[in-house]
């Protein structure tokens, strides 16, 4: 992929890098969580389905990291030095690649949504997390196909096909659990309530979001928000569930301030690259 944003005026290279990483990190960490189910699902067909979805997110993350690495390698030296605080990433000699971004950044350089780093707990919590995220992704990537940045637009185009399946899958599970047994209804209702506080961040614009939207690279989050709200309400109604409204929202993920869970995810995910540095696998 090549960078196609020369015609954009309000654009700053580091903002585009961070914007790309928001998407990449969310995809990677979400894929990580979903992949933890592999071999442990409640029904064999669903074990396979959720692993498949994890693979989609991992694939999207890889495309985005490759693009982010390319951007980073094109930064001037001062921007390169300031882009990340992770010491091992700063020590990489020469060009960085997708794996350096995934395996050598510390938590404070990760820009994923807080929602996706929350633990799986049980099938209800996993479905609630996916439902909120998949619905967001669907409308977000639909907008992003119109990005002036051709690389992001291309990733969006590909992701949209996958997300169309994801949103159907998680919505159907919301309905099945909500309109299933008394136990499943209680469980999914609790999970939706618990994770509600992580949903505000998805459509609350950071400085990076605003800069990228102004540059017509990023999307209009207000528009995504309206669509997201309409859609989740519709599904919840069919599922005979009640969505929370308002309330305090937890934020910080897109700016590198995370919950206590991310540290454990990274300790596990990055262990090999850190214990066996500078090797080819």
């Amino acid at each position: 992929m090549s960078t196609q944003h020369s015609n954009v005026s309000t654009y700053q290279p580091v903002n585009l890098l961070y914007y790309t990483l928001q998407l990449a990190d969310t995809a990677l960490i979400n894929g990580h969580r979903l992949s933890e189910w592999c071999g442990h699902g409640p029904i064999l067909e669903q074990d396979i389905a959720i692993s498949n979805i994890a693979l989609d997110h991992l694939g999207a993350a890889r495309s985005l990291y490759q693009y982010a690495a390319e951007q980073f390698n094109n930064l001037n030296e001062a921007d390169k030095k300031n882009a990340f605080s992770s010491p091992l990433l700063q020590q990489v000699v020469g060009a960085i690649d997708e794996d350096d971004l995934a395996y050598l950044r510390d938590g404070w350089d990760y820009r994923n949504l807080l929602l996706v780093e929350q633990p799986n707990q049980d099938w209800a919590y996993t479905i609630a997390r996916s439902f909120y995220l998949d619905t967001f992704n669907f409308f977000f990537y639909r907008e992003l196909t119109q990005s002036k940045d051709k690389s992001l637009a291309a990733v969006a185009e590909k992701s949209l096909k996958e997300v169309t399946y994801h949103i159907r899958w998680s919505s159907e599970w919301i309905i099945r659990l909500g309109d299933g047994t008394a136990e499943s209804k209680e469980r999914i209702q609790n999970a939706l309530n618990e994770y509600w506080r992580f949903t505000g961040e998805m459509t609350h614009a950071t400085e990076v979001d605003n800069a990228m939207h102004a540059a017509e690279i990023g999307v209009d989050l207000a528009k995504v928000k309206a669509n997201w709200e309409e859609r989740i309400a519709k599904v919840a109604e069919e599922a005979t569930l009640t969505l929370p409204t308002g309330g305090w929202m937890q934020e910080g993920g897109k700016e590198g301030r995370h919950t206590e869970h991310l540290g454990y995810v990274l300790a596990e995910m990055q262990f090999m690259q850190r214990a066996y540095p500078n090797m080819e696998w």
């Binding site: 992949s35 029904i43 659990l177």
Partner: protein, 318 residues
Amino acid sequence: MTAQSFEQHFQDKLDNEVSIEPRDWMPDDYRKTLIRQISQHAHSEIVGMLPEGNWITRAPSLRRKAVLLAKVQDEGGHGLYLYSAAETLGITRDEMLGQLHSGKAKYSSIFNYPTLTWADMGAVGWLVDGAAIMNQVPLCRTSYGPYARAMVRVCKEESFHQRQGFEIMMRLAEGSETQKKMAQDALNRWWWPSIMMFGPKDDDSAHSAQSMAWRIKRFSNDELRQKFIDVTVEQAKLIGLTIPDPDLKWNEEKGHYDFGAINWDEFWNVVKGNGPCNKERLAARQNAWNNGAWVRDAALAYSEKRKERAEKQAVDAA
């Protein structure tokens, strides 16, 4: 037809390499043997997800992570084909899983060994899938149609997995000192369990003769084991790894490798439940099943509600 003519008809099919299909008459023992073998094979795929699943979250590169996750998912898919094939013989998936969880049904003992380093992802792909393919390719022509057709799909993917495993080992073997050591260490741990995957020596194999006659089995354990060793030793040489068998030696006369004595005590011990991970593997499957009970209940309740609503709508509309 008389009982005798049913049997004759069945035997004719066997003799003419014609597939036996679900609705065909078949001897009870043939049915039982197939159910045992196919479900055991299906269980092996499902339990086999665990040792490799253990490294998905820790894979050392994004590419390797994606390939591994896809592979483990494929194993789930194989389990699915095989459970379906077994179901055509008149047993339900829940019954089969019940036998797995109670310990009545077996699965391949190889999955009771732990995956301790990343190199085990290479060794498992290369050796375990390699041995599985040796066992399974002949089953693509097994007498029971649904099983044979399932195996065609399985074998196609397995040989892909085997190449991926070998590629991991190759990369390690040409890497740093540590990586080479990691690869050799994995080979040391997986070699003997892998060659035990072909089962007991022909003299000690309980079900072999009848299975051969029924064309459920097409080569003997020892034949397949020898073939696997002959092929694998050459591959190990190619990447500079050493097979952990001091007695291994090319036998010019036989045109095969001679190899050292297999520790059958270990084999039977692991079969009996005393492998390093028997308890962990079974517990993982039981937990997945038990923790998933409310999910399956919900799915069932919902689908029944939907059906009722559809029927009611139909009645109301009439």
